[in-house]
Subunit: 342 residues, 2 copies
DNA sequence: CTGAAAGCGCTTACAG
DNA sequence: CTGAAAGCGCTTACAG
């Protein structure tokens, strides 16, 4: 009923005095159609405002030219898009643009395994799932349904089983560890989030190796991502109680907002940053650029990640195979005041 | 070919020993089907992993349960999602969640009037267009194609012609003008963006009325949104040259990043904020919360705007009529250091 | 070079 | 209560 006024291919055929088949051929450049017939059909089509139905066309090959982006961490963040958490938003925006460039639209989909999700949420040609959890049910479902997908960050429990854009957390965190050591850190503490994703788990793992190699116990604390800046005191209480010989001289928080909170709390306690304590953040939050002192973070280049992931998803959607290089997008350091001593 | 393995309604019918019609009836609760037949069909369907095709279903009523969000200002911002510009991102995220709650997915679509856009970008059941430009071609096209849409902010040249969520810019800007006056401003200058949308144009208009009423010439400057913080010096040069009697004692920048730039530039020149000059921002950017001094901004409540807009779009998608109240979402003030004197 | 026919996976009158 | 038939708007062999 709805929009029933829209002209169909039949209307074009009638107006041009040809068959629907010929219209289809002409408009899609398939088959062989007389040049002037093509011209006439195109004229008529544009005159009556014909536009092919994406749905009808999609029914043929069950493809809609639609990609879906599933941002898993949204489920642990109390608000869908917490203020100042740039990473996922830059990712979503860039993904949407890249998709368009390739002739695809992009939907942002909440957890598609929830009962009662709209059918459309499962109608995408391919999915991009960022930071899946351990044994992520979304991946399991996608696999079962034979819907192609790319993962950004591995499912920690099923490493190597899916097509994954692995940002190389070892590289990323290692970059920061080395930087901290270079500016004088002897004992680095790590604050991760509590989501069981590759980012948190692998960084934790790397910290253990790092500490082992240096002959001391790893200093690690996991705190909810959603707590944001409020974790400052808890972090300091945790690391600065007990044996002073075990106190860290650098704290690396994977979550930018945690780093912001730690910096503020430290200063309030008279711990100078960076003189007494180095502080750094993982995925940078906006706060880290404007706080006083500004806080060193990693730049994970979400735009580049998005581009790579979307391009892989497009290939999958078109039934082609994809192999992603080990680390396609290398993180870089944004060195700021919180780790600059001189 | 693709995904050809997916079971169809025929497979269910065959396996359950009934006709496709009956399967359809049973699964959709239409018609009259024996209770036990329904049970059997449901069992079989879940056994073989049947899931109805959104596309095939969409072909019936040309509805996909898909909404599209068009964020117009993206075209004037140099990067798709400039850092710290929270407003549109919060809007997009909230819209996506609200859509899901109503059984819809949401795609983020770039300009759908560009040649060569994916067909899918035009396959949405209804559109939400935020901050349309004057004579916006997107609205013209949507109207021509008879695709239902809601506008967030009016098309300044076609006010009242479309279904619009009018946030009441008069109210919003007025709120800030009154606040500035209450804390001592005698002469308020306004910095708008250069996009010809309702937000910029109406605020300008309001400023003229406001100045008229007070018997002096309006101080207004329009600068590109995309310039961000870099506009600081230009703004100060502009307003603080010439007759000192005409210098403003408050500057209200509609764009939060402009306000951030003005604050920094003022302090660098030895103009104290807020003592000598009050500064405020329109749509708050993250920077304004963490800068020193922190900057007073409006909170436009994008989440609430998104909710209202999506709910209206859903009604339109379902062929129902909608009337939006004049101002559904009222802005509030976030008063911070830049306008706090005592 | 052009078109009749079948089919994509569903739904919806309608007949039994 | 159940199912055969037509149709949604297109595309794609295939025949002429």
């Amino acid at each position: 009923m709805q929009r029933s006024g829209r002209p169909t291919i039949k209307d074009v055929a009638k107006a041009a005095g040809v068959s629907p088949t010929t219209v289809s051929h002409a408009l899609n450049g398939k088959g062989v159609v007389a040049t002037e017939t093509v011209a006439r059909i195109e004229q008529v089509a544009s005159d009556i405002g014909y536009r092919p139905s994406a749905i009808a066309r999609g029914l043929q090959n069950s493809r809609l030219n639609l990609l879906a982006l599933v941002i898993r961490p949204f489920h642990s963040l109390d608000t869908f898009l917490p203020e100042g958490v740039d990473y996922f938003l830059r990712l979503a925006g860039a993904a949407s643009m890249t998709a368009m460039e390739h002739g695809y639209s992009l939907m942002i989909v909440d957890d598609p395994t929830r009962p009662g999700v709209p059918l459309s949420a499962l109608a995408a040609d391919a999915y991009i799932v960022t930071e899946p959890f351990e044994h992520d049910p979304v991946l399991t479902m996608l696999q079962q349904e034979r819907i192609p997908f790319v993962t950004v960050g591995a499912d920690p429990a099923r490493r190597g089983q899916f097509i994954t854009l692995d940002e190389g957390i070892e590289h990323q965190a290692g970059l920061m560890f080395r930087h901290l050591e270079a500016v004088g850190a002897r004992r680095i503490a790590l604050v991760t989030g509590t989501d069981r994703n590759d980012w948190n788990l692998s960084a934790h793992h790397l910290m253990e190796e790092w500490s082992d190699a240096r002959g001391h116990a790893p200093l690690v604390l996991a705190l909810p991502e959603a707590a944001g800046e409020t974790v400052g005191d808890e972090v300091l209480d945790h690391f600065f109680s007990g044996d002073p010989a075990q106190h860290p001289d650098a704290i690396f928080c994977l979550t930018g907002r945690h780093a912001a909170g730690v910096t503020t709390a430290a200063i309030k306690r008279g711990i100078r940053v960076p003189e007494d304590l180095l502080v750094a953040g993982g995925s940078g939050a906006m706060q880290n650029r404007t706080s006083s002192p500004t806080v060193t973070t990693l730049d994970l280049h979400p735009e580049a990640v998005a581009r790579t992931a979307v391009e892989a998803a497009v290939l999958l959607a078109e039934g082609r195979s994809v192999t992603l290089p080990a680390s396609s997008v290398l993180a870089t350091l944004n060195i700021r005041e919180s780790t600059t001593r001189e």
